[in-house]
């Protein structure tokens, strides 16, 4: 629950519902909250927009002690997502994307977003389920980077990969047991999407199969593997290195 940005009070929740700018994941209402015009309006708008609201025991609000919540809080997603089709309809030239396949840790997601922005990545694709969503920890860890890059939320990563391939993008998956090293790829002269897998499970088999390349980061010590944000940094900045050297040569 704490992993989402929380807004408090009837006015804030109502305004968020009216503006529609932010995605509201869930509204919690204390059973002891006094019913009035505003609360009725909140319930009506939530219902119309398919947003879940729950009546919970007032003890549930203990964690929000000290803020004026009036017995109502909403978990909201503070950013506006980009549609993959809209993204692909724009012109792209040696652009890059990162596709996140089930990242669970908010700190990792935040660090990945920050690194992606520094490396000039054009967008971040996350699945609408089985991945940590954009929340206040992610926002904070990204150091504000979240506001500088489109976040593309898709229902199916498999479909997203298919679309990318049909749109002249090359898809590169990362896997610890791959044969090829990440730096053997020539990242110039193509649009490419890098798939990074979940912290423990890695990239799912169906996506590995669908990818054009599968690469690994070679380790000098046989130990576990890199943290996912560090692994992404290594790969994307190899692409940056190649790009800069290439532009110098030209």
């Amino acid at each position: 629950m704490n992993e989402n940005e929380i807004i408090y009070g009837k006015n804030a929740v109502l305004e968020a519902l009216i503006s529609g700018e932010r995605e509201i994941n869930k509204i919690l209402i204390s059973k002891t909250t006094h019913s009035d015009t505003k609360l009725n309006k909140i319930k009506e708008l939530a219902k119309n927009n398919g947003i879940i609201y729950q009546f919970v025991a007032k003890e549930k609000f203990a964690e929000y002690e000290g803020v004026s919540h009036q017995g109502i809080v909403a978990q909201i997603s503070p950013i506006k997502y980009t549609d993959l089709d809209d993204f692909l309809s724009l012109p792209h030239n040696n652009d890059s994307l990162i596709i996140l396949d089930g990242i669970e840790d908010a700190h990792n997601l935040g660090a990945i977003i920050r690194t992606a922005v520094c490396a000039g990545v054009s967008g971040i694709v996350i699945p609408s389920r089985r991945n940590v969503q954009i929340n206040s920890v992610v926002e904070k860890t990204s150091a504000g980077a979240i506001n500088h890059i489109p976040i593309i939320k898709v229902n199916s990563l498999t479909n997203a990969v298919d679309k990318l391939k049909k749109s002249d993008w090359w898809v590169i998956a990362t896997d610890a047991s791959a044969k090829d090293n990440h730096y053997e790829i020539n990242y110039n002269d193509m649009n490419f999407a890098i798939i990074m897998g979940a912290e423990h499970a890695g990239v799912s088999k169906s996506l590995l199969k669908a990818s054009d390349f599968v690469v690994k980061i070679p380790m000098l010590k046989n130990f576990n593997s890199l943290n996912v944000s560090n692994a992404f940094a290594v790969i994307i900045f190899e692409a940056v290195r190649q790009k800069l050297i290439n532009s110098k040569v030209k």
Copy 2:
């Protein structure tokens, strides 16, 4: 307080004091704790070893509810540090070190340690002050890597850098405003130490001045900078790339 590993109870604290294997930062004793032979022994050993113990109100123990603490807890550092001189007296051949200048975040330190182990780094130098110390968050974030690499704690980073240079190590500092890019360094055929600076302040001026090289990671977007663990990953895996390509050529 939560950032250290905590051990509970008279026996555990006493054993830790006797073994001397672990560094004990502080012992907290509830004012209501019954004084007995063990407690007296604990106080005596702590005094002899210059370890601080404090008598605190029993309310301070509320956070340890549910564990059998007997009114005594100790904050301990679970690893054994390596001495820089001992480290330098070993043979080194194209080895690497990382020097951490004021890293504040335990997650970052943990990720750096993990990445260092994966990249075959030979040791991690941290200052005894003004840097997050090895604690349970660091241990957890490092995914156990902490047990696979010497942690070298020094009182003065400046002195450490001097010693390294005198021992035929090359010192490379990172700075966002450096002229040279990190990948322009030839990491082969030398022992090198990379200095990574604090999350906000960067590498301190005196260390920048003392370094043999100062390099940056070029950014493709003018945004802030990388998370320090990601920045380290980028640099050290460029060294790994060069090393692997070099060993293939030979």
